[in-house]
Every structure is written in C-alpha cells, then in structure tokens.
C-alpha cells in the first residue's frame, strides 16, 4: 500500500492505496464521492471525468497514486453550498439529461470547454466537437448542447 495525499474539492484528503487502484475507485469507495461515475471502464464514455489540476481527465484511466500531491475537483465540488453552479442550473433548465448517469461527466467536460474558451467565443459546432469524450445514451445530445451554450452565456462567454 502507498499513502497518498491530495486536494479534493479544496480539502486535503489522504488514504492508503494499492498501486493498481484507479483514481475513480479511490474517489468513490475510499472517499465516498460517488458523483463520479464509471460508465464503460474502457476510457470511452467520459462519465468518470474529473478535473486534475484544472483540466478534465478520465479518472478511470489514471492510477490513484498518480494523483498524489495534485488538485482534484469532482462534481461534488462544483456547486456552492445549496446553490447550483450556473452550468448545473443550465442542465436543469434545458433538461440536458434523461437518466442522468452521464451528467456529472458532461458537466465536468462542459466546465473544461468554458475554461478553454472563456476569453473567446463558443458556438454549437465547437461544443459538439469538444464533447467528443463524453457519451450519452439517452438524449441525442441536443439538450446537453443547449445546456452548455446557456451555461456558457450565463458565465459570461460570448455565444454565437
């Protein structure tokens, strides 16, 4: 076992892990942060997307030990208290989900898109292109794309 310490949603957390423990399993089973989902376990669906040092990555394709000393943000760290983040509110408003399983990963990827384009602009084609790493098996994506564009607008990104 290896002892790891990392910042998760702004709080210092530590735990003992086997080298083969995946980051997503550490988050879900050892820290109890079950908002991060495992959809495919083959690095394709993006339901396990978290932010590592501010950038979206798939936590099923990373070892927990690799996150030692790093900053991790999960879906649980997005809202402020009881108040939804503007992106979460936009998903609710636009009904950007049906079963909801992919939603945590979608929101984390959406926030990555905003981060990459905050001084720039966004349009529907860009959102669709940058959502390549996230699969939704219910919605056909229209509501999700609408939600990300609304969230972007409400976060001050120019939407054209």
């Amino acid at each position: 076992m290896i002892k790891i310490s990392l910042s998760v949603n702004g709080t210092e957390r530590s735990g003992d892990v086997e080298p083969r423990t995946l980051l997503v399993d550490f988050l879900r089973t050892q820290l109890g942060l079950t908002g991060t989902h495992v959809g495919c376990d083959t690095s394709q669906c993006g339901a396990c997307t978290i932010h590592l040092n501010g950038k979206p990555v798939k936590s099923c394709t990373m070892l927990a030990v690799q996150a030692d000393g790093q900053n991790v943000k999960t879906i649980e760290g997005v809202a402020v208290g009881d108040e939804m983040h503007p992106m979460q509110a936009a998903f609710k408003e636009c009904h950007g989900l049906q079963c909801g399983f992919c939603t945590p990963g979608m929101v984390m990827s959406a926030l990555g898109i905003i981060e990459r384009h905050k001084g720039d602009h966004l349009n529907e084609a860009m959102v669709r292109h940058e959502l390549e790493g996230n699969l939704c098996r219910c919605t056909g994506y229209q509501g999700i794309v609408n939600a990300i564009l609304m969230g972007a607008k409400n976060m001050g990104v120019k939407v054209i």
């Binding site: 080298p19 083969r20 394709q44 993006g46 997307t49 030990v65 790493g133």
Partner: protein, 264 residues
C-alpha cells in the same frame, strides 16, 4: 489489473537505471494505452515507472527552424501552443484531433510514438515532417523509427526524451477518423520541406510509412491533379471490422488529395 509496484522517478537517469535493473518494469507516460492494457490484464509488469515527475521531459520550444517537443508533453499542450500554431499549424491541428479533450490532457507524444499503434496520429507527423527522435542514448531518424505493428527501433529500456520536428514550408494533415474512437482509419501528412516533398501515411499499414509515388509527383507539381491518378495498392494494408484493405488504399488517395487541397 494484476498488482505491480509503482515508482515515480525524478530524473531520466533514475528512470532508466530502474528499468535496466528490472526488464519486466514498464514506463508509464500518459497512460492512455498502458492503463487500459493493464485493466484488461494484457500486460503484467512487475513495476510501473511513472515518468510524470521528470520535468526535463516536458515542454514545447521553437528555435532555429525546429519545433522541439518533450516526450512527456501532452497533446493539448501541443495543440494549444501559440508558437506551434504559428510556425507549424499542421502539427497543432494533428495534436488537436487526437482522441478527445480528456485524452489530450493526459496522452503524450513520447508514449504515442513508443507504442507505435498503427492508427495513431503522431507517427504521420514524425515521418511526414522528417522528425528526429532523441532518446537517452542516441538520435533516431523518423524514417527509421517505426518497424512494424507496435514495433519501433527503441531498444529495451531506451527512453524517448524529446522529438525535434523541422518546420516545413507548408504542411497539412488529413485523417478519416473512426467516428467512435477518433483513431485514424487512415491519416496522411503531406509536407513541403527543405528536403523535398514528404507524404506519410498512418492507419493504413502496420506502421507509418512514406508514399514515394505521391512524393515524386508532388515534387514535380504540388497540385491535387498531380496525384489524382495514383493508385495505391491494397497489398499488406490493414483490414479489420472498420475498413477493408481496399477501402484503406482508397482513403490514402482521398486524404492525400484533401491535404494538398488544404494548402492550395
């Protein structure tokens, strides 16, 4: 996953000496191939040597007509580099079309090249631009690096340190991406370089290769018309559930023409 030991060396020397002491140890770069492989129990290393803490393996720089990319530089850092975008936009485009945003934040050029996946994008840049692979012991020409399916010129334990890519006069990369994975069913890099025209193909064969007929035709006339009648043989090309060898041969022509057209 089978169990393994984990180390995060701080220097190239520490990584290579640990690997030299244990032939069953495995370097871990971005992990976009190795970790799925471990999960499927298709690899069983005794220890994983995570290269992510070796700072000298990271970074992009442009000087003297050369783009230099550290082996542990992730695809997003190449795609979003303003310097690369300015001097060699085809390389930024290629890096920005690998996988998806999450993969581009983890996957590295060194990992991609050492793996030599037949459908990976970076091999087309290395062969197409006439790049040089710098390892801990020597320099290897891009033309000599890829040896076959998942096979390279690297010796056991040899570690890629950086890749230097000469800035082409003009270059473009076009790929027919697998719609599910983003991997190249076929990808073609066409580059007009100081050493002549180079046409590199990935996805179609066991590893990236140059297409001499197209290079000769484009050297005479750098136009779509110059290569439109070149027939690519399907012999020895890959065939799988995604595309037959004949279809891949056809796509080599289509992607090459699109690349030339993009530079017109």
């Amino acid at each position: 996953m089978h169990s393994f030991a984990y180390h995060r060396p701080k220097t190239i020397a520490e990584a290579t000496s640990k690997r030299a002491a244990d032939p069953d140890a495995s370097y871990l770069a971005g992990g976009m191939t190795l970790i799925p492989t471990l999960k499927q129990r298709l690899a069983n290393p005794t220890q994983v040597l995570d290269l992510s803490a070796i700072t000298e393996l990271k970074g992009v720089s442009v000087a003297n007509g050369i783009v230099s990319v550290g082996a542990m530089t992730c695809h997003a850092d190449v795609a979003l580099s303003a310097d690369v975008r300015k001097v060699l936009p085809a390389l930024a485009d290629l890096a920005g079309a690998i996988g998806d945003p999450q993969v581009r934040n983890r996957g590295t050029i060194g990992g991609s090249l050492a793996n030599s996946d037949p459908s990976a994008d970076y091999p087309a840049a290395v062969v197409g631009l006439g790049a040089t692979i710098h390892t801990n012991t020597r320099q290897i020409s891009g033309d000599d690096f890829f040896k076959g399916l998942f096979e390279t010129a690297l010796e056991p334990g040899e570690l890629i340190v950086k890749v230097t890519l000469p800035i082409a006069k003009r270059a473009a990369y076009m790929k027919f991406a697998n719609p599910a994975s983003g991997y190249a069913v076929v990808g073609v890099m066409v580059a007009d370089t100081a050493q002549g025209v180079r046409v590199a193909v990935t996805g179609a064969g066991a590893c990236a290769f140059r297409q001499a007929d197209m290079e000769a035709a484009l050297a005479k006339s750098f136009t779509v018309a110059a290569i439109k009648d070149i027939v690519i043989s399907a012999d020895d090309l890959n065939a799988d559930m995604h595309a037959t060898a004949e279809y891949r041969a056809h796509l080599v022509g289509v992607m090459a023409r699109r690349a030339v057209a993009a530079m017109a």
